[in-house]
Symmetry: C2
Subunit: 347 residues, 2 copies
């Protein structure tokens, strides 16, 4: 997998980035762009929004030409639809970026390299196309064999509740304590942030668990692999991905991620969110198949929809309910979760 | 998807079939070939076995040339390895079949059409390559919306315990009673037997549930879709496929399939089989997410490894344990299961 930190290499995709938001309808639709802007602010020179784009990242608004002049190297298509379809507008703007001399990276199911017009434009202008959702070839079937090393996996009540943020926050907090800890990316944003990983929802279904085993291989240094969770066991569109990732990760520790103002499962108005305790128990029960000693070590609450005082109350209530530390990784940090992780898995 | 019943059409793949067993190591490795020989005996003129092939279907042994002379139209590669890898021997024999004028069909993860030598040979000789594991393009993400029609899904304690056989046997039994009932294929053998379907373990992980919705769309004729199950919620390599299929199928009825002499999960000596009651309850709990009224209606026991008297005892014991009819579809039929299905889902 390409490494975006190779930006210095001429003719290679990588930062500085122009973040393309296109015609995104809401904030959740731009989570790829938001993740990059939050975790790699120094890499992001601006945002490009079409006139009907609702959300914003607060970055300088730029056209493709302005971004080029501001030093951008790559346009990252950071907005996704359900199913990852590429609209005619996205195709036109990708071609315009290539014509202006930018590389183009994207994390859509429909690949840049599968669109002949985009491929032709990239070839014409000697630019690189990077599809973060391209799974690596030759993935193995999961073997379920216990392996060395310690692994944490984030799981969720729903999609898009903060699993990637939480995992990256735990990496940052553990590294600050001088611990060996590595974020393992399983989604397009994580891959763009980390520079490597496997887009677990884009692999062939038979290889989901095998892909999870591949990104978190046996390790002997006493350090932790921190694996980015995907979807939810309770999301009827994507639960298969979540279960395969749970089995392949063989996690020693789970962190449950939740967004308390979400009224129904993402994209499915008729599906309520699962009750927290039931959700955590279902994840533990499923994880026990490949790691009987798995433990829940904390809850990460995305309180962006709550007032500050309400957020504190919500965390306390959930902490009492589940008997686990509960905090918002963005506004409160993850120190209590890391403390509990280290206490629970001290051996 | 191509329909093998179009055999009359010149230049089209389809029966009569030469079943290629290659160097298969055991009986489970030839389940594609065995399924075809059992459900479509009139289509199968012979079998081709390499010298180190262990199992047999009892069909006439034929070379490629002999099969051609016996009227074969297509060689079906009916033996699979873990991961569906295509060995150099299979490649050589596929090319030899094409050179002799046969079409070639296969159900491996590695596609015939992805091997340049096979593709070149097919083109040279004007023959067709059919990959039963090619998922249809443009699959939707699962939407979880309740849909009209009645659906039965077979689930299993393990892979390769008889889910396809059971589903086809139920179709046959229901049709004999004059009921509208259609087998919906989710695996390569089922697709070769049925002439259509989606290889659910070969779709991109995000679309597992969507593929299940696609093969069993809303129906208004009061008939049943009988959906071929895959894998097991308790198989650490493939459980994600099983869960997505369970959610997308929105089954009204489940039939649990089991092989009582299996000592560990297929391919994984360290994983014991799940206890039957726990397995059934886990499947019902997961299925309730998309169909809260789902019911278990029977158990299909693959008793091929038991003496006849032991098989009868095993069925009776399981029937008492789970309070469901239990029978071997191959040796005992599925009448009691169909009776219970119709009684449970009479509305």
């Amino acid at each position: 997998m390409s490494d975006p930190s190779n930006a210095a290499e001429p003719g290679h995709w990588g930062p500085p980035y122009l973040l393309y938001l296109g015609s995104a309808a809401d904030d959740l639709a731009i989570k790829t762009a938001r993740g990059l802007a939050y975790w790699r602010p120094d890499w992001c020179v601006g945002q490009l929004r079409r006139h009907d784009c609702k959300p914003t990242l607060g970055l300088p608004e730029m056209s493709i030409g302005e971004a080029r002049n501001a030093g951008a190297n790559t346009m990252v298509i950071g907005a996704a639809n359900a199913g990852g379809v590429m609209s005619p507008e996205i195709v036109a703007d990708a071609i315009a970026a290539l014509e202006a001399g930018l590389h183009v990276a994207a994390g859509l199911h429909q690949k840049l390299r599968e669109n002949p017009d985009i491929v032709a434009a990239a070839r014409r202008h000697g630019r690189v196309l990077f599809d973060a959702r391209d799974p690596m070839p030759g993935l193995p079937v999961g073997n379920g064999r216990p392996r060395a090393g310690r692994r944490l996996l984030t799981v969720g009540t729903d999609c898009s509740v903060g699993k990637m943020y939480t995992t990256l926050a735990i990496e940052r907090a553990m590294r600050k304590r001088g611990l060996a800890a590595d974020f393992r990316a399983t989604g397009q944003t994580g891959i763009l942030v980390a520079g490597s990983g496997i887009p677990i929802d884009a692999v062939v279904a038979d290889f989901i668990a095998g892909a999870a085993e591949k990104i978190s291989p046996a390790r002997l240094d006493g350090g932790w692999d921190l694996i980015e969770g995907q979807g939810s066991l309770f999301h009827p569109s994507y639960a298969g991905v979540s279960l395969g990732l749970l089995h392949g990760s063989q996690p020693d520790a789970l962190v449950l991620c939740h967004e308390p103002t979400r009224r129904h499962m993402r994209g499915l108005p008729d599906y309520p969110l699962p009750e927290l305790k039931r959700c955590l128990q279902a994840n533990l029960a499923a994880a026990q198949l490949t790691n009987p000693t798995v433990k829940a070590v904390g809850v990460a609450l995305n309180t962006s929809g709550l007032a500050e005082a309400d957020a504190v109350v919500a965390c306390r209530r959930i902490s009492e309910l589940l008997e686990l530390p509960c905090e918002d990784p963005v506004t409160m940090g993850v120190e209590a979760i890391v403390d509990n992780l280290l206490a629970c898995c001290a051996n």
